[in-house]
């Protein structure tokens, strides 16, 4: 007990240093907790609810944002024929009205294969036939009703089919990858849920069912999970999968997912992109945790070493009066208990906060409190071990064999000096790595935001079907949007939002639409004043017109034009020209080349685009109206009166300015930057403090030396030189290590943070920042040395 109080007094003796060490340990503790709590859920390649260990591949299509999107059954079925695929299960989603307990509500229905359900082992259903007569509901969904639903019947409005509510979905099935589940249903009911409206009269039921069946096969609502036979890998499957679906059968449709490349993911994974993003952060955390751990242990080790060095006589005395090594170990442990307790408590509080945040922001991770408690225990044990080891190790080196041997103590000062050198080097290195990472991310972010070449104040409004009106319309009357445009020259139209267009794609080519090297571009219909209003200048040529399209620079590169001018008036073949309302019989020409615009977010700026005149469109489900902020009010009134006069079932919705939307698209990047910058500041502040204390402690130990030097005629300048030069070696080692690390890991940093870029200039900035920290750390001991008289330095007061 006395030892604990003594340890507390030791902590108070050097408050700031203790504070630095404690906050370092607390941060380490928090990071350890988060890393270890996240690890199982991030590293597992299958959702936690699949037990089967067999080899799976998840298949979808690659969306414009390079993420997995659902494919269609028709397309996934093709996989079944491939060698190596044992079977394929489907998982899909559809929103549809259901009637239960006298109430009709729209529910998100997850459609699942019986095979897949069996693999999950979570919902007990004896066989497929049985499962086809049942539904499982989520507890969230059930909360809308006043009484327990299991045992009741639920009717699918669309197919008028009544199914028994067999039970609740387990918590782990509430979020299935990219979808939220209200109701779990056999995939076989899907075609019944497809809604088909024919304007005039009823079709024959048999024909209607045929159409519904065909539509169900073509709708992009499904992810496939292929089970591989042994000896096959994902690569084999990917190599044999056709990029496009063969159109066979008499009743076939062409849907826009047919143009998208297939997406493969090893293992069972429904939101691989989201997890991949997390994986990056996990790596970042892991690297941080490791460097924090090394940093802290070095700090602790050097601190304890110099403390013990001062106490050598005391410890030897204790040994000489009969204390055993274990007694001294116990004493040191007790002295450090305070440190462990305070920093552990701080760390756990921090970790709990982080954990709570993570759980709220990323519910798909399924973090359980069991894991959390385990992680907390683990972190505390680790921190305790770290502190104790750092207290005991120096003891062994100081008290090794001969108790009162002078040259031994010389050796331990040597060890101490090496330790402090390594510590200083490492602190500089950590600060350097962290600062250059932060600089890299920050500058990439800055560049991507400052390089936006359009007027970001432009406001966007969308004219869409009025969701609240009972009578739903699906196509906007052309007269309406024609009128919109002719009303005001300050108004431009596009088929969809500029920043996040739900764009269709098509192959384009200079020679023939069917050539194999045709390039995929995104299509967008815009009015001819669209570019002018956005303030984008043409690299060459003029705006869109009848049978004349504009492509962006990325598309021009794809088509292989040596310069923008070369593209003007070239004939272009567009496979899906009809999607743009263009006449496929007549030739289509390139009217102009435009800079790359930040469609799909700033980071996807290089998406190849093709723009055509919106006037050519025969119909569209919605349009986006772009307007100068100054004209906004007039537009609002004008459009509203237009809508009321023409067709009251359309409404005008505000989508925000281009700037707001860009910010929204960049939010993850912003968060990452914020986290990186905060951590960088914290880490480099910690490293700076440790550096400062280490240099101070070293200088203190060297006081006698400085005194002697002054006695033999060294001036203040010489002392400063000595102080600096002892650091210079550490500095040079650290900076060269930093340069090597950055060079080696630059590629992985890029993978880790898409938004990372490093340049020589940044490295220089980082080195300058480090030098400032170093010089600042030198100044205090220097002034102290000069302030004291040489006589007292030598006496060692």
């Amino acid at each position: 007990m006395f030892d604990i109080i003594f340890g507390y007094r030791l902590l108070l003796k050097n408050k700031i240093q203790s504070l630095v060490i404690m906050s370092g340990l607390a941060l380490l503790c928090a990071i350890l907790v988060v890393v270890s709590a996240l690890t199982p859920s991030i590293l597992s390649q299958k959702p936690t609810w699949i037990n089967s260990e067999s080899r799976h591949v998840t298949v979808g299509v690659t969306g414009h944002d390079q993420r997995m999107q659902p494919s269609s059954i028709a397309r996934l079925e093709q996989l079944q024929q491939l060698p190596g695929v044992a079977n394929i299960s489907y998982l899909g989603q559809i929103n549809t009205p259901v009637r239960v307990a006298g109430k009709t509500v729209t529910a998100s229905i997850i459609l699942i294969d019986f095979q897949l359900l069996q693999k999950s082992n979570l919902v007990k259903s004896t066989n497929d036939i049985h499962f086809q007569q049942q539904v499982y509901i989520s507890k969230d969904f059930a909360r809308q009703f006043s009484h327990a639903l299991p045992g009741e019947y639920l009717t699918l409005e669309e197919s008028n089919l009544a199914l028994e509510v067999a039970g609740y979905l387990p918590d782990s099935l509430h979020n299935i990858g990219i979808w939220q589940a209200d109701i779990l249903l056999s995939v076989r009911h899907f075609s019944g849920l497809v809604k088909v409206n024919f304007a005039n009269g009823k079709l024959e039921t048999a024909l209607l069912n045929r159409i519904k069946n065909q539509l169900a096969r073509e709708m992009p609502s499904f992810i496939g999970i292929a089970e591989l036979t042994s000896g096959y890998t994902m690569a084999d499957i990917a190599a044999h999968t056709p990029d496009k679906r063969e159109n066979t059968g008499n009743l076939s449709l062409s849907t826009n997912i047919d143009n998208l490349a297939p997406y493969f993911f090893p293992g069972i994974e429904f939101a691989p992109e989201a997890k991949k993003q997390l994986l990056r952060q996990w790596w970042l955390l892991l690297i941080l945790a490791i460097s924090f751990a090394v940093m802290n242990s070095l700090n602790l080790l050097t601190m304890n070493f110099s403390k013990l060095l001062e106490r050598t006589t005391e410890l030897r005395l204790r040994l000489s009066v009969g204390a055993h090594y274990t007694d001294i170990m116990r004493q040191l442990a007790a002295e450090n208990l305070c440190l462990i307790a305070i920093s552990g408590a701080l760390g756990l509080a921090l970790a709990a906060g982080t954990f709570w945040l993570t759980q709220n922001m990323l519910p798909e991770l399924h973090l359980s409190s069991g894991i959390m408690i385990f992680a907390m225990l683990l972190a505390v044990v680790l921190i305790g071990t770290l502190v104790l080891l750092s207290a005991w190790l120096p003891m062994f080196s100081i008290l090794r064999d001969n108790l009162f041997n002078r040259s031994k103590s010389q050796q331990s000062t040597l060890i101490g000096r090496w330790l402090s050198k390594i510590n200083v080097t490492f602190q500089i290195l950590v600060a350097g790595v962290v600062l250059s990472l932060a600089c890299g991310i920050f500058s990439a972010q800055w560049l991507s935001l400052s390089n936006i070449n359009l007027d970001t104040s432009i406001q966007q409004w969308s004219v869409i079907p009025d969701q609240t009106s009972g009578e739903r319309k699906h196509l906007l009357p052309k007269t309406l949007w024609q009128q919109l445009q002719s009303e005001n020259a300050q108004v431009a139209l596009s088929q969809d939002n500029t920043i996040k267009p739900d764009s269709l794609t098509s192959e384009i080519s200079l020679y023939s639409p069917d050539e194999p090297t045709a390039n995929l571009v995104n299509l967008l219909s815009v009015s001819s004043n669209y570019f002018q209003l956005l303030g984008v200048s043409f690299l060459s040529g003029t705006s869109v017109a009848e049978q004349r399209v504009v492509i962006n620079n990325a598309a021009a590169h794809l088509l292989g034009f040596p310069n923008p001018d070369a593209a003007i008036n070239q004939r272009l073949f567009i496979r899906n020209a009809y999607l743009l309302g263009l006449n496929e019989q007549e030739p289509i020409f390139i009217a102009g080349i435009i800079e790359n615009l930040p469609h799909f977010g700033t980071l996807n700026k290089h998406t190849p685009m093709l723009y055509a005149d919106i006037a050519m469109l025969k119909q569209t489900p919605a349009v986006t109206v772009l307007v100068n902020p100054a004209e906004q009010h007039t537009l609002y009134n004008g459009v509203n009166s237009l809508i009321t006069a023409n067709d009251p079932y359309w409404s005008l919705n505000f989508d925000g300015s281009i700037q707001q939307q860009l910010q929204y698209e960049n939010r993850y990047l912003n968060q990452l930057t914020l986290v990186a910058l905060t951590l960088a500041t914290l880490l480099s502040a910690l490293a700076g403090f440790s550096l400062y204390y280490q240099i101070n402690a070293d200088a203190l130990q060297q006081q006698t030396r400085f005194g002697i030097m002054i006695a033999v005629g060294a001036s203040g300048l010489h002392i400063l030189k000595l102080l600096m030069s002892s650091l210079a070696s550490a500095f040079i080692v650290a900076v060269s290590l930093l340069a090597v690390l950055l060079l080696i890991f630059q590629a992985s940093f890029r993978v880790l943070f898409t938004e990372y870029s490093v340049s020589l200039l940044q490295l220089l900035v980082v080195i300058a920042m480090l030098s400032i920290i170093m010089v600042l750390s030198c100044i205090k001991p220097f002034i102290k040395t000069l302030h004291n008289s040489a006589a007292s330095l030598i006496r060692g007061s």
Binding site: R406, S407, Q410, T413, L414, R417, T704, R705, G707, I708, M709, I710, A711, V712, G713, A714, S715, G716, H718, S789, A790, A791, S792, I794
Partner: protein
Amino acid sequence: MADYLLKTENLSKVFGKGSAQTYALNDISLHVETGDFIAITGPSGCGKSTLLSILGLLDNPTSGDYRLCNRNIRQLSNYQKSHLRNRSLGWIFQNFNLICDMTVLENVMLPLRYTKGISAAQMKKSAIECLQQVSIADKANSLPSELSGGQQQRVAIARAIVQHPDILLADEPTGSLDSENAEQIFQLLQKLNIGGMTILLVTHARELAERCNRIIRMKDGQLCDTEPMSVAPDHNSLYRA
């Protein structure tokens, strides 16, 4: 009137502030001529080391004047003081104060490093010469921790004389040594004095003090009297200040 090598007037040194103030030195006036071999004695805590530190420019007086080599030290810049310490003063301490991670040779070369325009070879040559003078040249490449106390003190003396200073300041150089080693060190100092070096020696050993050509006795920070040396009278007057 003769130029004194070193001269103080009403030199005082106060440590601490307020009620904790102690006069370590009180009104010390003395002077030293070239070739003097002076012993400073007195009870422990009387201010001998403090006086020596001030004379050796390791500390500044609180008040009073101090002229060294005809220069008022108050008017010297830090840089000039360093220069004086380097060229004109040599220090020997009771606990040797060798730098433990430098070899004997490097320790002796240390003062030369703070002098401009000396090549490494020259440095080494002068250092070896000095080590030979104190008969310890064979240990040139050892570390101080590998030497006995007497040997370490010889190294310290070699370091003190490597620049051929005008004055050698020795604060109890024999205090940590047995009588045999102490005698050897004292003889070394006598040899240097005969060679023309001025020496100020703080010592508790009466028999050593009496072999110097002048003794300054101190008590409570003041000079009490000076005693004529029992041996070897020389050209200097007995009493000054």
